[in-house]
């Protein structure tokens, strides 16, 4: 069982995905703005955060940046959930530290699958880097 934190100001979406994720067997916590989301993340150290982009007080993009700046949250997976679907927006999302990007309208089932996949990735131990060759290849 993993801990998932949902940060979204849209109550319809928040409750919908919270129950979907709960039914997949995870602990779910919800917050409705970016500042509260960061505070909750520091307290809970969630395995995955699902963050909306457009939110009051602190945008989802800023939440991603702040989470990535904290060492204690380094292993938290981040999924950006947003209506912004342009190529440049997706690039900005990943540049801010998101691990995955879901565009609205979205499939709640697909979101749960993405969370499961991200959890599996987070849980997997990092692969050791191959040893450097002693001589340059010719």
């Amino acid at each position: 069982m993993a801990t998932v934190l949902i940060v979204d100001d849209d109550a319809d979406i928040r409750d919908l995905i919270a129950l979907k994720i709960e039914s997949a067997g995870h602990d779910v916590y919800i917050e409705s703005d970016g500042e509260a989301g960061i505070a909750a993340a520091e307290l809970l150290r969630p395995d995955v955060m699902v963050v909306d982009w457009m939110m009051p007080r602190l945008s989802g993009l800023d939440v991603c940046r702040r989470v990535r700046a904290r060492e204690e949250l380094a292993r938290t997976g981040l999924i950006l959930l947003t209506a912004k679907g342009q190529e440049a927006d997706v690039q900005r999302g990943f540049a801010a530290g998101a691990d995955d990007y879901v565009v609205k309208p979205f499939s709640p089932r697909e979101l749960v699958s993405r969370i499961q996949a991200l959890l599996a990735r987070v849980a997997r131990p990092p692969v050791a880097a191959p040893a450097a060759p002693s001589e340059p290849r010719r």
Partner: protein
């Protein structure tokens, strides 16, 4: 007199207090009802094999709030969950009421009906929505265009294109956004629209065909660049070719980069050439940097960078000449390097 005034004031304050309290209670009840319904609907969607009967049977105030919630969710989710929401809306008669609402004498109701029918992707509403493209209220026409975008039936493509020049027209942004939702199924109709419609519609068709990265539309676009008698269409076709990025259109683009063409068309062709990145175009681009028109010369310098290392090298050489081309070369190279860092303040 003082007592009477004090009494009236006290009465006023008392009434105000009671009214505020009643309103506050009503808002609390409404919020609580909405929260309960959100949880009920989310719970129902979370359990994939649960029957929709309990939810579908709600009536009264709860029923009204439920319909609002379901309609709101319909625009936010897709996939199987969306289909289940549509199913419940059908069971509750909401979709039928929207079909009837499309014939209402009130514009707001007609527009709302369009939005819901589009969000529910109700194929049975296709002909009603096509008719509403000619509604006498502009907002309803726009809502019908958006709804047709949701339905995605290619039958609607020529009707939407025709609205750009109709007496009761629809703005180009709404039409473009609606057509963008159709995806590849609209390509045959858009190709037909490239030839058989007004200049404004041909320009929109060219623009949309350029967004799909489909090589099979390149010959049709090349033919518009070469033969169309409207410059808007030629520019849109050139830009579309640039977005697709196929080098097979390089000769056509080189043709319209010449001085006998308008600066707007030349600029578009030069930018498209830069997007495609054809090293053989360097000498022509270099000649364009001498153009009298500032936009043409700027675009030519920037397009040289698109031709790769050879283009960048040539720009560095031109930068050293100290003539007009040197200025454009410097600007292009500076733009490629990014903003100049500011010196640190003491």
């Amino acid at each position: 007199v003082t007592l009477i005034i004090a009494g009236v004031l006290a009465l006023f304050v008392g009434v105000k207090f009671v009214v505020n309290r009643v309103r506050h209670r009503a808002a609390q009840r409404r919020d609580e009802r909405a929260r309960r319904l959100r949880i009920a609907v989310a719970g129902w969607l979370a359990e994939e094999d649960r029957d929709a009967g309990t939810i579908a049977r709600l009536s009264g105030k709860e029923g009204g709030a439920l319909d609002e919630l379901l309609c709101s969710l319909l625009t936010k989710v897709r996939g199987e969950d969306r289909s289940r929401l549509v199913e419940v809306l059908e069971m509750r008669g909401v979709i039928d009421r929207a079909r009837a609402g499309a014939r209402s004498h009130r514009p707001l109701e007609r527009a709302r009906a369009c939005e819901l029918l589009g969000a529910a992707e109700d194929k049975r509403a296709l002909f009603a929505l096509l008719g509403m493209l000619d509604d006498h209220t502009a907002g309803v026409r726009r809502a019908a265009a958006r709804a047709l975008g949701g339905l995605g039936s290619s039958v609607a493509v020529p009707h939407l294109l025709a609205r750009l020049d109709a007496e009761r027209n629809i703005d180009v942004d709404t039409i473009t956004m609606a057509l963008m939702r159709f995806g590849p199924s609209s390509i045959p109709e858009l190709r037909a629209g490239l030839v058989r419609s007004s200049p404004a519609a041909r320009a929109v068709a060219a623009d949309l065909l350029g967004r799909g990265d489909r090589l099979e539309v390149v010959p049709a676009l090349i033919s518009r660049v070469e033969f169309d008698d409207d410059e808007r269409v030629r520019i849109a076709a050139v830009q579309a070719l640039g977005r697709i990025g196929s080098p097979s259109c390089a000769l056509t683009l080189l043709d319209v980069m010449g001085e006998d063409q308008s600066p707007e068309l030349r600029t578009a062709a030069i930018r498209a050439m830069g997007d495609i990145g054809v090293p053989e175009s360097l000498s022509v681009l270099e000649a364009c940097m001498d153009a009298d028109d500032h936009d043409v010369a700027t675009a030519a310098a920037e397009a040289m960078l698109g031709a790769g290392a050879a283009g960048e090298q040539r720009l560095k050489e031109l930068e050293a000449y100290g003539d007009r081309r040197a200025t454009y070369a410097r600007e292009a190279l500076t733009g490629a390097r990014g903003p100049t860092p500011r010196p640190n303040r003491m």
